[in-house]
Symmetry: C2
Subunit: 345 residues, 2 copies
């Protein structure tokens, strides 16, 4: 039986207040495993020698939601077989660490690609140390991720992580290919979300399940659940880019559009107002024009429709849980689904 | 017993003429395994979806010496335990492919970092498709490398590759830290060579040995042999940057110095002519001034000394072989050592 409470004892409340609530509900074991994950992340990046320690450690130490490691831990607990030995917990923590390191590596490279000045309120590696250092730092974080997971000596786990890591890079390439393409079709957008976001969510739950010794079928099912959560997460993130407000997102509205990235709100708005396809994104002169375009998208009602799409995907994810897990063991994963939506309310 | 001839039947000739000679001496089995490695590389990169297929495939298809895959295959054969089943050969080929994919990933990122226009006579990914695509293409090649090796389901193999991959990135970071530092000490230069070049050579031989089921001790010893070869390879490459000729290197003399990278010839020349430490590399105005600096380095006699250093390292590597392998089984690895030197004669 899992060392982490699967939440069976408590009735799911109507509202959740995000990931903190899950940490509280998960009990002491979950908090301990998350704390070990943090320590381990710190150790792996600090250990890697002076040049890395500076940038990789700063990147990882700056925090973030740690949503992906949380999914690893919760998926393991949900199987009812989560490890309760020190060695078993170490394997689980390594998987959580590996997923977060891949995520961090991607952020370092994405920030460089996007020319972003800030991440989590601090200068990005690219902004602080230049693009050459950012490339190498990202590469190092990727390598460390695989080095950590290799210690678990399980080919299936490594395959899951490397598939996700490939998907992230393919998603970035697809986004480059589609840059400024105002006619990009919906299925292509969805494919990009799968690659850029959903695949690593999938890997997180899959790794948690595999670490706990779950069957391949259960690992697949939990992966599919997480994939939907990831898809919804990305959709809602794309809504926020158009809806703002700035105080919440920390960046001006329409940043993606300025970068030539066409996402769900634009695609849905285009169906309602076909002339939008004629907008020349390259000629947007700056934040003010991007904001005007956001207003135009919002005026079509596309934002509500995009939110509805995301909520539907989350609802499908939650609806899949009873077929996968006994009711008592799916509560916390269900709350993660809620928390993803909650963030955007 | 190995399917690849270890060269026991033939007496090592006084001269070798490079890697082609090794391919001939290695016999049909080696040629077949190298051909399978090529096919596999083609398949892995072509398989990965349209955006990747374009750039990653072009990168890998453009060829190169395939020195690292060759080391994987020869190390496996040298153990006398190289696989002779289809599945065993597949594992060996996967290891060879994984090492070459990591090497290719590094080249894509290094070319971007160095702003190089050409690689193997073709435009670099960065030059052909822009830096954003180059970052993602390199990431993808890294991910594919680990995905391939994960199929071998051997934690020790994955640890070897991820250690080397981390080392490559750390080496690049170190090089950034030391950029334009004309006083960089010799040991720091050697450390950079270890990270940027020797570590992947080490991993190549180590993976070959592990794939063949060799003991950890033999894998370590073959790794240490390859590490020396890699170190010498890098030293000689650094000599070429200063010595030219341009027709041979395909780039103007002193390219590294223009980029602020201080290497062995400069370090040895500085010991003979201390005023060199006062050279302001940042103020080199272009190829002509870089060439003049190369002449100044050459005039100190440092190039011969650097070549001697490299030859000593290769000799040490070759001298280590009798302690590691029966004489008959070390012939081809010895020829690789010779070929590394031969390239620079």
């Amino acid at each position: 039986m899992s060392a982490v409470s699967s939440g069976a004892a408590s009735t799911p409340a109507g509202g959740v207040d995000g990931l903190d609530a899950i940490m509280r509900r998960g009990g002491a074991a979950l908090r301990r495993l998350m704390a070990r994950t943090e320590e381990h992340l710190e150790r792996v990046t600090a250990q890697a020698g002076t040049p890395l320690a500076v940038h990789a450690n700063a990147m990882v130490a700056a925090g973030g939601k740690r949503l992906r490691p949380l999914l690893v831990l919760l998926a393991a607990a949900s199987t009812g077989e989560a490890p309760d030995t020190a060695e078993g917990e170490e394997r689980l923590v390594r998987a959580a660490v590996a997923v977060e390191l891949v995520h961090s590596a991607t952020l370092v490279h994405d920030d460089l690609i996007d020319g972003a000045p800030l991440r989590r309120g601090s200068p990005t590696v690219a902004a602080a140390a230049g693009r050459k250092t950012a490339i190498a730092t990202g590469d190092l974080l990727f390598s460390r991720a695989f080095a950590q997971l290799a210690l678990n000596e399980d080919g299936a786990q490594l395959e899951a992580l490397s598939q996700a890591s490939s998907a992230l890079a393919e998603g970035e390439l697809l986004q480059r290919e589609d840059a400024y393409a105002t006619h990009v079709p919906l299925d292509r957008y969805l494919r990009r979300c799968e690659l850029k976001t959903a695949a690593l969510f999938d890997a997180a739950c899959r790794l948690g399940a595999l670490t706990a010794g779950a069957s391949a079928a259960l690992a697949d099912a939990l992966g599919a659940f997480a994939r939907r959560i990831g898809l919804a997460f990305q959709m809602l993130d794309d809504v926020l880019d158009v809806s703002g407000p700035v105080e919440r997102t920390g960046k001006s509205r329409g940043t993606d559009l300025l970068d030539g990235t066409v996402t769900l709100p634009f695609i849905l708005a285009r169906a309602r107002e076909p002339e939008l396809a004629a907008v020349e994104l390259r000629s947007l002169s700056g934040a003010r024009e991007a904001e005007a375009l956001c207003e135009r998208i919002a005026a079509t009602g596309a934002l509500d429709e995009a939110r509805e799409c995301a909520l539907t995907v989350v609802a499908e994810a939650k609806a899949s849980l009873p077929g996968i897990l006994p009711a008592g063991r799916s509560v916390l994963l269900g709350l993660v689904a809620d928390a993803v939506v909650e963030r955007y309310r």
